[in-house]
Structures are given as structure tokens and as C-alpha cells.
């Protein structure tokens, strides 16, 4: 079926006025493959950083503000750190934050969503009001406030990202839980005397697998982007070389725009963040068609 990559609704689609006669197609498996390749590339770099990076990213490695050369393929920054080494070690921070913050957000969303959707009643009502409240306020100023109080560390950055990321996924999980809890096998488990925790853990959660995977991918992308942003604003660990911190340092060098240094100092970290987020997003787009239960069921739901 020729379905455009961007269309993720899974319902019967309108016929366009102009037929698709030979228009470009975006093959989904190709997208996921490309995303996976990007992610693996960064993963390899991060894992082998001590072997691949020519210098210690936090150590004086040569003349400050050196232009790219054989010794420093991307030159050095204003305090003589090797920029290529900084970039390679930065992949570690971004991937770690994506993995940990994405995972924790998904876990929190799964716990809240299944509890609200399965227990219903007042616990559902309370959880939904908390979500409404957290959704109604702007997140970045709150993140700045929390991170400023908690102090600059990678753990605090991860916690702030998790605490303000679980709400929308929790709603998605809750909606799907409402569907799953009506299934015959859940009724059967209840009739056999299984407690709520056992039902949620053993019967409902497995049914949510596909949704949780796509939530995790989306949240990992969000976490990578946000970590770069928070580090750029000065809330990250100032001793930990991350791409956001590199951008911050490059931009705080006066006149960076008017020297050629922007080319190897300012652009690479920004491109790395964008490329990693793109890679994760592509995996998400590729997986969507395969994992979203609504898509698998095709148009049935929309006709009902």
C-alpha cells in the first residue's frame, strides 16, 4: 500500500485531487534503517570514546583557538581543548540521557497510566487532575527554577526532564489500558481472583508493549534535545562535556560569528544534536506502522 510516511493516523484516507503519478515515496523500513544506522554510529563512537578520541576532552591539548590541522582535525577551543575529542565524548552524555531519561519517563508514564486506567475511580480522577495541572503551565521556566534550586548536575537534569515529560504518554497509556481492561482474558484473570497489581503487571502491561516502545523512542528524542537545551542555558554539569555545553562555550566566545571558528566549533555540536534526534525520530517513524495497534487493526476503528 502506498501510504505516505508522514501519515500516521491509520484511518481510511482521502483520495487526493491529483493522483500520485510517480511521486516520490518514502519507504518506511528504509527510514527506520537509516535511523538505526545513525544511532549505532553514535553508539559506537560513545562506547569507544577513549580509543577513538585523540585527546582527553577536558585537558589542555595544544595552542588555544587552533585551526583544524592534522593534530586537531576540528581545531581547539578558547582554552585549548581538542574539539573533536569533546564531540566524541559528548555523544556519551547525549546517549546516556536519552536512554535513562527516556526509560524513566516511559516507566513513570506506564505506572501512572495503567494505574489510572485500571483502577478508575478517585485515583484516576486525582492523577488526571495532576496531569491537567502540569500540562497547563509552561515547562521551561519551571525546569529552570527546579534545576537552579537542585544544582547543576547530570542527575538533576535527567530528573527534571522525567518529571515534566510523563504526562502526555501517561494519557496515551491510560487510554490503551481502558481498551485492554475490557478484554476477555483480563476479565478471566479477575474472575480467577488475581489482585489489581498482578493484573496490571502480568496482563495489562504486556498488552501495552508496542505503545511503550514508541513512547520510549519519542521520549528519548525529547530528552536528548532538552538536555542539550538545558546545558546550553547553563544548567548542566559544567565539568561534563556535552554538546549543549560546547555550543554554550562557543557562543560565549565573543565574535565567534566573525571568525572562521564557527565552522568547526559552533556547527559540529549543533549538527550532532540534530543528527542524533533525527536518527531517533526516524526509528520512531519506522516503528510506528509496525507497532501502533491502531495501525495494525487498519481502518476498522474509524468506521465504527
Amino acid at each position: 500500500m502506498n501510504r505516505p510516511a508522514a501519515d500516521t493516523t491509520g484511518r481510511p484516507l482521502a483520495r487526493s485531487q491529483r493522483p500520485v503519478a510517480g511521486g516520490p515515496r518514502l519507504p518506511r523500513p528504509g527510514l527506520a534503517g537509516a535511523g538505526l544506522a545513525i544511532l549505532l554510529g553514535f553508539g559506537l563512537l560513545a562506547a569507544s570514546a577513549p580509543l577513538v578520541a585523540p585527546y582527553d576532552p577536558g585537558a589542555y591539548s595544544g595552542e588555544p583557538l587552533a585551526r583544524p590541522s592534522r593534530a586537531h582535525p576540528l581545531g581547539t577551543n578558547d582554552v585549548g581543548h581538542d574539539i573533536l575529542s569533546e564531540l566524541i565524548y559528548g555523544a556519551r552524555v547525549s546517549l546516556m540521557v536519552g536512554l535513562v531519561a527516556g526509560g524513566l519517563t516511559t516507566a513513570l508514564a506506564a505506572a501512572v497510566g495503567t494505574a489510572a486506567g485500571y483502577l478508575r475511580g478517585w485515583s484516576d480522577a486525582v492523577l488526571m487532575r495532576i496531569i491537567d495541572f502540569l500540562m497547563a503551565i509552561p515547562h521551561l521556566p519551571l525546569m529552570l527554577l527546579l534545576a537552579a534550586y537542585a544544582g547543576p548536575s547530570l542527575l538533576n537534569v535527567i530528573l527534571v526532564i522525567v518529571l515534566l515529560g510523563w504526562m502526555v504518554p501517561a494519557r496515551v497509556v491510560r487510554a490503551q489500558t481502558l481498551v485492554v481492561r475490557g478484554e476477555a482474558y483480563v476479565e478471566a484473570a479477575r474472575a480467577l481472583g488475581a489482585g489489581p497489581l498482578a493484573i496490571m503487571g502480568r496482563h495489562i502491561l504486556p498488552g501495552l508493549g508496542p505503545i511503550l516502545v514508541s513512547v520510549f523512542v519519542a521520549q528519548a528524542a525529547r530528552a536528548v534535545s532538552l538536555e542539550a537545551g538545558l546545558a546550553f542555558l547553563g544548567l548542566g554539569d559544567p565539568t561534563l562535556k556535552s554538546w549543549g555545553l560546547m555550543l554554550r562555550q562557543a557562543l560565549s566566545y565573543r565574535g565567534i560569528y566573525f571568525t572562521p571558528h564557527w565552522l568547526w566549533w559552533l556547527l559540529p555540536p549543533g549538527l550532532c544534536v540534530s543528527l542524533l534526534v533525527l536518527g531517533i525520530t526516524l526509528i520512531g517513524v519506522g516503528l510506528e506502522g509496525r507497532l501502533d495497534p491502531r495501525l495494525r487493526r487498519g481502518g476498522k476503528e474509524a468506521n465504527g
Binding site: 511521486g23 521551561l140 521556566p141 527554577l145 534535545s225 537545551g229 546550553f232 547553563g234 549543533g270 540534530s274
Partner: protein, 325 residues
């Protein structure tokens, strides 16, 4: 549908919750708001114990929590947000000078972004599967993967540094006198254009796909076929029959969009050194200027809630299905 009065009451409750939250955060954190003065490791350590207790008394921190809470509410309601550590000015004064710039940046770019999203989303859906559709969808998806501050940096590099079309930073030319108010307005507009464009593009990228998919679904509805059968023109089918029904997801995600615009403005103002609330928050973070951070969070929350309330009240008018009295 709840009555407007109930909805206003719900928003008032949320504002109260934000206020209480803002009061609680510094007090729930380990230590107390002056912990950084007591901590021997901290750069602000105050060795004199007498001075420390006088400071605690000055901020009312030696009083029982309930009394502190009442004191806090009274201060906020009278516009007393404390004193900025970094700027050595009353926080309310700082906000009064910064908020207009942020409004100038965010409100027009939100309006512009919504208009562009509706038109581009509709045209992409109408031409589903064509090069135009893919170019729009792929282009904005790529832009979305870039952090907004990097988008801003790229805009500066291309349009300000290399093409020299716009100034690098700031909201007005410093130390300049203008011959006429018109010239001053033009100067402001010249500084405004690039950061506003970055915010707009970012905001379009966030919603274009949503609008496009929504229009694709609506175009499959029987009433579109009816409209076509009646012999209506293509433009009328798209913009009189499809768009009003397809635009609802944009309205329901408006709240999230406002929050994103606030985040966007913090980054964009930082990159462009644009003297609004976002830059103020950025400056406050690096100086750990807590009174400014707290007031900034309060004011921006109040602004977003007000925007939500307006959108909520407008929702009934926008949805063609809820027009019944």
C-alpha cells in the same frame, strides 16, 4: 460544555495552585531558600551568624509556614516579587521592562505560525503524495529535529553575518536617536524580524503534520464529496468546508503550543540577546537569581493560563458542531 463561569473558576484554581507550588518549591528543597548562605562549600557562604539570622528574619523565614504563606500571597498580589540579586532592582520593575519585548516576539509569531500551519497543512493534504506534500512534510520534520537555539544560531550565521540582512542581536540599535517615531519603529521591526521568524518556523514545524493529517481525514468525509458534487470551486471546498472541521486539533493543542512558545522564546532571546523575559530568565539562571526565576515562572504561567482561558472560551465559537445554543 461547562459554563464560562465554571471554566474561569477552574483557571483561577490553577493559578492558585501555581502560586502555592511556587511558594513550596524553595521550601521543599533540601535546606531552605538561604541554604546557599549557610553552606560552607558554596560561593555565597556567609560566615557571620548574626547576619544570617537577620537575613532570615528579613525574608520572614523564621516565622511559622502559614504566616509565611499569607505574607507571600499578599506580596504577590500587590506585585511585590522581591529584589533581584543580579540586577539589584525590584523584580517587578525588571519584569515590566522585559515583558513587552517577549509579547512583541511571541504573540505575532504565534498568530503568523497558526496561519502558515493552516494554509501549508491544507495545501499539503490537498496535494497528498506530490512533491509539494513531501517537501513540506520532510522539510519541517528536519527543522523540528534541530534544537530551536541551533536553528537560531544558523539564522544568525546565514541572514545576519553572511547576508547582512538583519542585525546580529538586540531589540533596538543601542545609543541611537531616531529622527521620527516611524524610524524608531522600523529599527525595532528590523531587529524583530529574524528572532520572530525563527520562533514562527519552529512553531509551524511542531503542528504542520497534525494539521495536514487532520485535513487528509476530513477530505474523506461525505460532506466534502457533497460539496464537490454541488460544483463548488476547489478553494471553497478546502477553506470553507474542510478547514473549519480540520482545524480543531490545532485548537486543542493550543495549550501545549503556548508552553512551547515560552520555551522557544527563552532560547531565541538568549541566542539573539533580545531583552525579553526569556533572556531575563537566562541571566537569572547563571546568577542563581531565585527571586527573578520564581517571578518569571509565575508571570509566564499566568500568561499561558490566560491564553488557554481565551482559547477555551473561543473553542465554542470555532467548533462548527457546538454552535447550538
Amino acid at each position: 460544555m461547562k459554563s464560562p463561569l465554571v471554566r474561569v473558576a477552574l483557571y483561577a484554581f490553577t493559578v492558585w495552585a501555581v502560586l502555592t507550588f511556587n511558594f513550596a518549591v524553595p521550601r521543599l528543597m533540601p535546606g531552605d531558600p538561604l541554604a546557599y548562605l549557610y553552606d560552607q562549600e558554596s560561593a555565597f557562604y556567609l560566615p557571620d551568624e548574626g547576619l544570617r539570622s537577620r537575613l532570615a528574619a528579613y525574608y520572614g523565614l523564621d516565622r511559622p509556614p502559614l504566616q509565611q504563606y499569607v505574607h507571600y500571597l499578599r506580596n504577590v498580589l500587590t506585585g511585590n516579587f522581591g529584589w533581584s540579586v543580579r540586577f539589584n532592582l525590584p523584580v517587578s520593575e525588571l519584569i515590566a521592562s522585559r515583558l513587552p519585548w517577549t509579547l512583541l516576539l511571541t504573540v505575532p509569531s504565534l498568530v503568523l505560525a497558526t496561519a502558515i500551519t493552516v494554509v501549508a497543512g491544507t495545501e499539503a493534504a490537498w496535494r497528498r503524495g506530490t512533491v509539494t506534500d513531501y517537501a513540506l512534510v520532510v522539510g519541517f520534520t528536519l527543522i523540528r529535529t534541530m534544537p530551536v537555539f541551533f536553528l537560531g544560531i544558523l539564522a544568525v550565521l546565514i541572514f545576519a553575518v553572511h547576508l547582512r540582512l538583519f542585525p546580529l542581536s538586540g531589540a533596538i540599535t543601542p545609543f541611537r536617536t531616531w529622527a521620527s517615531p516611524l524610524e524608531q519603529a522600523l529599527d525595532i521591526l528590523h531587529h524583530w524580524a529574524l528572532p520572530a521568524a525563527v520562533l514562527t518556523v519552529e512553531s509551524v514545524g511542531a503542528r504542520l503534520l497534525l494539521m495536514r493529517n487532520s485535513v487528509v481525514l476530513v477530505l474523506a468525509e461525505p460532506y466534502i464529496q457533497t460539496a464537490r458534487a454541488k460544483g463548488l470551486g476547489e478553494l471553497a471546498i478546502r477553506y470553507r468546508h474542510a478547514v473549519p472541521n480540520a482545524v480543531l486539533p490545532l485548537v486543542t493543542t493550543f495549550s501545549a503550543q503556548l508552553g512551547m512558545a515560552v520555551a522557544g522564546t527563552v532560547f531565541v532571546e538568549t541566542v539573539f540577546a533580545y531583552p525579553g523575559m526569556g533572556l531575563l530568565l537566562f541571566q537569572a539562571v547563571s546568577a542563581r537569581d531565585y527571586p527573578v526565576l520564581e517571578a518569571g515562572f509565575l508571570i509566564l504561567s499566568a500568561g499561558v493560563l490566560l491564553g488557554n482561558l481565551l482559547a477555551d472560551l473561543a473553542y465554542g465559537r470555532l467548533d462548527p458542531r457546538v454552535k447550538r445554543p
